[in-house]
Symmetry: C2
Subunit: 156 residues, 2 copies
DNA sequence: GCGCAAACTTGCCCAACGCGCAATATTGAT
DNA sequence: ATCAATATTGCGCGTTGGGCAAGTTTGCGC
């Protein structure tokens, strides 16, 4: 069973790579990583009281803090993200999307959603919901085990 | 709905990246791409009459033919894969795993399966099967739409 | 036999994504 | 005052993969 899942996950990762390449061909000005960053800033910023900090971003994305900082700097340079000192903790930066960043995120979301929509076009009603539910469980299960592995390594 | 799925797929791709990095930390001698290549050679070789050709590999993996050729050359150099002229079409190479390649593939499969097993350890019986079934449908749906997109582009 | 295409390989150079270390500055907590 | 947290930036590197060009050999149809 696990072997079947491993194969499916390998296939899925290959498909995701193809989708990303497709995006890149259509939008060479926007690295896919920027889209991920924008999305996470939006989500975290919406959910968290103090807004989105670089540290949150690094944790959520699993990227190295220096990578996150540089990605944010690039997005700031492109006018997609703004950085402000957090008054509650002046060591930290609060990250937020600019209107341009919002527009780009909306466009990217529409692009990926359209792709997914085409894939699921002839699915019976309710199937997408069920698959999404299962995918959510899978994501949660993996998050837990990979987080645990990461924690064990940090303890070394 | 599609937006939820897009988010989940982004999260899943990040988790897959973490798993791959974990593998790389534990097995720096074995690029993850080599594992994928070995796996595909094994699958295609098992399923196809004439064995596995580089062209099959490129199609299945979505990698550029030159990339595939180089990856195969590296695997041959590491004694994991052997290349033979296909007598049915002497332009083509038939790729097959060596015993060492088989061992490595088995080890990698065990590694990833163990990871997945830990993630699903406390799932109720039958749930993994259901999720796998749903994942298979998702993979098939995406394959179809991305293949179609790829075909349209080739026609340009 | 010829011409074209298929199958593949290799050299070369590049792109995209990400890591990690070191150094630095500022702020927060004790 | 000391130490840790938060973040940033420079630098150099690693991993994965693309694409072009050129070349060789073989297969196929005329």
């Amino acid at each position: 069973m696990e072997n079947v899942l491993a194969t499916q996950l390998l296939e899925l990762s290959q498909l995701i790579r193809k989708a990303r390449q497709q995006w890149l061909r259509e939008r060479p000005d926007v690295p896919i990583g920027t889209v991920s960053i924008l999305k996470l800033i939006d989500e975290i910023g919406t959910a968290a009281d103090g807004g989105c900090h670089a540290k949150d971003l690094a944790e959520r994305s699993g990227l190295d803090p220096s990578t996150v900082s540089r990605a944010v700097a690039a997005a700031v340079g492109q006018g997609l993200v703004e950085r402000r000192v957090d008054n509650a903790d002046r060591r930290a930066s609060t990250l937020a999307l600019t209107p341009a960043g919002r527009d780009l995120l909306a466009a990217a979301s529409a692009w990926f959603s359209a792709l997914i929509g085409r894939a699921l076009a002839d699915w019976p009603a309710g199937d997408a919901e069920r698959v999404s539910c299962d995918l959510g469980r899978l994501v949660a299960a993996f998050s837990a085990v990979l987080e645990e592995t990461h924690t064990l390594e940090a303890a070394r």
